[in-house]
Symmetry: C2
Subunit: 419 residues, 2 copies
Amino acid sequence: MAEKTWVRMVTAQTPTNIAVIKYWGKRDETLILPVNDSISVTLDPAHLCTITTVAVSPSFDQDRMWLNGKEISLSGGRYQNCLREIRARACEVEDKEKGIKIAKNDWEKLHVRVASYNNFPTAAGLASSAAGFACLVFALAKLMKAKEDNSELSAIARQGSGSACRSLFGGFVKWIMGKAEDGSDSLAVQLVDEKHWDELVIIIAVVSSRQKETSSTTGMRDSVETSLLLQHRAKEVVPKRIKQMEEAIKNRDFGSFAQLTCADSNQFHAVCLDTCPPIFYMNDTSHRQVKIISCVEKWNCSEGTPQVAYTFDAGPNAVLIAHNRKAATQLIQKLLFCFPPSSDADLNCYVIGDKSILKDAGIEDIKDVEALPPPPEIKDAQRSKGDVSYFICTKPGRGPDLLSDESLALLHPETGLPK
Amino acid sequence: MAEKTWVRMVTAQTPTNIAVIKYWGKRDETLILPVNDSISVTLDPAHLCTITTVAVSPSFDQDRMWLNGKEISLSGGRYQNCLREIRARACEVEDKEKGIKIAKNDWEKLHVRVASYNNFPTAAGLASSAAGFACLVFALAKLMKAKEDNSELSAIARQGSGSACRSLFGGFVKWIMGKAEDGSDSLAVQLVDEKHWDELVIIIAVVSSRQKETSSTTGMRDSVETSLLLQHRAKEVVPKRIKQMEEAIKNRDFGSFAQLTCADSNQFHAVCLDTCPPIFYMNDTSHRQVKIISCVEKWNCSEGTPQVAYTFDAGPNAVLIAHNRKAATQLIQKLLFCFPPSSDADLNCYVIGDKSILKDAGIEDIKDVEALPPPPEIKDAQRSKGDVSYFICTKPGRGPDLLSDESLALLHPETGLPK
């Protein structure tokens, strides 16, 4: 029995990502195969990431998982697909020091434990399932010494959550829709790494949604079945945009990048509205999205050349990508003018992430926010206190990492239970 | 000089209309030629119409016009186009009793006066320009004894305001986009008259807009120039829908009619959202449109077959078309539950038009409104007092009419000035 007491553990960190050419619509619901390619930017894991510890031990009698400290079921099809695909690629593992020896075909009988947590509020609706499935697959692959590269792993993560495949890389990432019926060629590739275009600054306006939104799975299905514009978008519009976006990213052409990003976000929401019954992700009760879009459009127009791009996913948060630090500094001033914190809020909790942007903007406390001038390009600019929960300042970031520091593990090294 | 003192006058009434297959986008801005056919239902002029008096006299030294009692300039291109086209078709007029004799080529030298008013609030954004230009052209044609039929006149009214061409007929009307470069074949035809499908009931929720909207001329131009979905809609989607809508109207197939009407309204707003910068007509701050759409969709879904269709133009008003009186009675109950009048409102001014619908619904005063049960198909139905300005109950109506009763004329029969 003594040799059966070992626990082998791996801890990994995976970023979240935001699409700049959107994924909306599956051609295969089980394999999660999309109707078009998509492109995303990976967000800095220092500010937004999932950390996952996976463990295996002959003493575990079933697969178990804890998400943000709470046990959840692994019986869902999406988890089962990921577990099955990774187990099929597991290899022999030997660690003489710890007395571990797992033969390739032992993996079918061994059970795993998974503990995962997000370093950002899950309720924020910031693609936590993308980072989560990417991290699960990446960590399990390392645990089981699978030889597949990150692109091959992305095709497995895709079966957990479509956009998860794009979280296997840093920088800018393309999810190639693929052609194969089994989905084997529907995977992510890195376009450029996070150093290629490192002057970009990303500011996320996190807002709490007061209304129940259509889940993206249901929404996509309805759009595929009823929108007469979706197929045109997928077949005619997106292929051209993907090429233009790849060029814009390669050449760090912010004007084209911003134009394509905004247009594609709007078109995704147009397809949602063309769905029967219509889906309104861009229609929050406080009108924040329209205010933000209007603010950005007016500013870009007044400057003659885009300073900022906006993009909105299937929820109310706004993701704003500023051309550079100077544009980001002006952007945070405009945003804080239009969306000041509630009177009792702590500025330190209202703008999180890379706070150096705030410092560059000369904002140290609430008084500085109150003293901000209205953006000159907006007539009768209104201040809407409390409409935004908080802002996250971040930038393009790197892909998955193994965390070798055992103190960061989420499972106890001996019991295999959450710490 | 004595023979110069006559004034010849004609007064006409023209209905407004609401498109069920939308017109959005011009292929020629000056001639106002659309990128697709459209279909509308004419609204009962008893509740929504324009009345216009036109007059000619050798004593008039310039063309003048009064709209709702206020003098406006006729120098705009759209007025000038209509006046020129009608003058070119003017014929000889003789009225021995009044001593009037106008030769065909006298019309070039004679000046006209126009007085026009809407029997509904102009600020309501209920296609007053459609009824207005249709009435102007129709009345001038009668004044000048032009021999053109209403379809031919519609091609002139179209040059005042595109959708005006559809107000030259009652019932259901198709605006054929045409092919000719000079626009001569871009005109309206009647599909069926107002008696063909007379069980339909139309309820309009009039809401005051708190935000400035994009004018439809500017919006259409931006959409044509920037939306990648508009051309697909115009070329691929609308031609099929026009055929299906014509069939549905011919067969009084309310299920198909409602499905097509709602889908086309949503697609029009989708194209607006796909425009750069995006146009948000469906995004009013009080969320009324989404509430109304959601209410209708849930009800139709719970009944298994559509009871009501919704359609929204380039403004915040909702136009609801109920299958029959029974559906309309239930609809007004649901609408009054969700959008009750302000506490101090007079129900008599809150539901106008055909008040017999209210009576059928058993609603006589505010207390009856307060006692309405929540619609069972809507979970946690909320009441939003004051979000709707008022409701108009109406039905499909007839086309333009000459008003022979001289007491209805808006100009003084001797001075030719507004009464």
